[in-house]
Symmetry: C2
Subunit: 279 residues, 2 copies
């Protein structure tokens, strides 16, 4: 199988590593608008060649779209129009807009909408991680809109990568992603800004930062170019969750203000039950 | 050196392991109100013996107070009164109240107020971690209120444990701890409750939880018995930070509502600079 990866970042790069490790690709070509990323991806052996997008599309059996979700939606219609029965899959964090776009475009049935549930706060090809997807979940959305052979082709790849496939309606995916991923990023960004606001006044905070802080703000290092389009595309869901989160924070605030420490303990004990969700 | 550890939880237990590993204690006795914790600490070899508090005090050269901060403040005056020139150190997450208490009590100069900047979301003696404190920071507060020999004794122990000592005024410690630790816990608890609120409606969220979510809500597993007293004692600072955090979240909300994606990118890029604080 010849693979074209459009977008040689964290996910595209890690996908290249995974396909190579499992010997699923005979050749991998890369497309990236960023010269430095192209160069780095070649250096790291993520891809065999760098090509322009048109050459890559006609070369490949499988095209993986791993660019930020706004750029994915810009590229997809043109990309679908150039297809000659190849399969296209995306790996973006929002699915509703891209699925709608595909279903309204010629060759849209060659597209399979996927979201591998893995990522880190780092970006670019140098951030690619070996074995990243093994034993992780991947969501495939609106599978009824894909050709049976295209769907099967993508399912096989994820199966061979050791991933557990979950099928979901694109709108449901975006709602759940808002709760399970997008809000975590917003709270991390906001927490980082809270601390940075304070830190202007005092450097002592540097010395004290320890493990708990680090894990809570880890996601705050995440890239704006990736996340702004996600928040844009999933605006309504993210706003719903953000409102709920602010109201949950207000409960803690009210407990403190009123010194209602029994209710505070209840809130914490309820939060402890999150254990059920974390694997 | 004979050591009494009052409170055989995560920190007390890890301290026992560290003192043994560095061969700093000839004998370690433990005190704990919880029979199961007593038994577990003996089983795990954290302590050589379990004693009642009075026997432990008269037995030991060093008394480590590693109970939740409300219980520490209850035990401290009585404990100080029973001293016969031994040294007492606490390891609590708030320092202002305990320092004030010590400075108003007989033998208060035998007390050294410390806060090792390490912890996990787990509790109890079984959660104790070997080598937990190595290369971590420890804050010593209001050192001028401790006898020179008591201070030096405690400094030596932390030095031998491989810790980096930071000296700080107790009030400043509590302010910084609110920013660097206490708010992280509140945001994690609130985020867990946000997701749990939603999850009542839909189980799909379980399947999707991935690494980013896990790290952001990790602290939500933390124990209410430990954290409610911390929030109580540090109420004013925690409220200040919580208000700042809510106002930072509102900026994200407003960006989404107004579709001001340029400012959203700015907020994220500002958050990215948290990299400077994380080691």
């Amino acid at each position: 199988m010849k693979v074209a990866i459009i977008g040689l970042g964290l996910i595209g790069g890690s996908m290249a590593l995974a396909l190579r490790e499992k010997q699923l690709a005979s050749e991998i070509v890369g497309v990236d608008a960023n010269d430095i990323h192209q160069q780095k991806a070649l250096e790291l052996g993520l891809v065999d060649k760098v090509m322009d997008i048109d050459s890559a599309i006609s070369f490949a059996d499988l095209i993986i779209l791993s660019v930020p979700v706004d750029i994915a939606n810009k590229l997809l219609p043109k990309l679908l129009l150039s297809l000659n029965n190849q399969v296209v899959m995306d790996v973006g964090s929002t699915k509703n807009a891209v699925c709608e776009l595909a279903s309204n475009t010629v060759n849209g049935k060659r597209f399979v909408a996927t979201h591998p549930m893995w990522g880190t706060e780092f970006s670019g090809p140098a951030a690619a991680v070996k074995g990243a997807f093994t034993n992780k979940a991947v969501v495939i959305c609106n599978k009824e809109n894909s050709d049976a052979d295209a769907l099967e082709f993508v399912e096989k790849i994820y199966h061979n990568l050791g991933m557990h496939i979950i099928y979901m309606d694109a709108a449901a995916h975006d709602l759940h992603a808002a709760y399970i991923s997008h809000i975590s990023h917003i709270t991390s960004f906001a927490l980082a800004n809270t601390v940075l606001e304070k830190e202007k006044e005092d450097e002592a905070i540097f010395a004290l930062a320890s493990g708990g802080f680090e894990s809570t703000v880890r996601l705050a290092k995440s890239n704006a170019q990736m996340w702004v389009p996600i928040f844009m595309q999933n605006k309504e869901n993210v706003l719903d969750v953000l409102n709920e989160h602010i109201s949950q924070l207000r409960k803690f605030k009210s407990c403190l203000e009123k010194e209602n420490f029994e209710y505070l303990a209840e809130l914490i004990e309820n939060a402890n039950t999150i254990n059920r969700i974390l694997k």
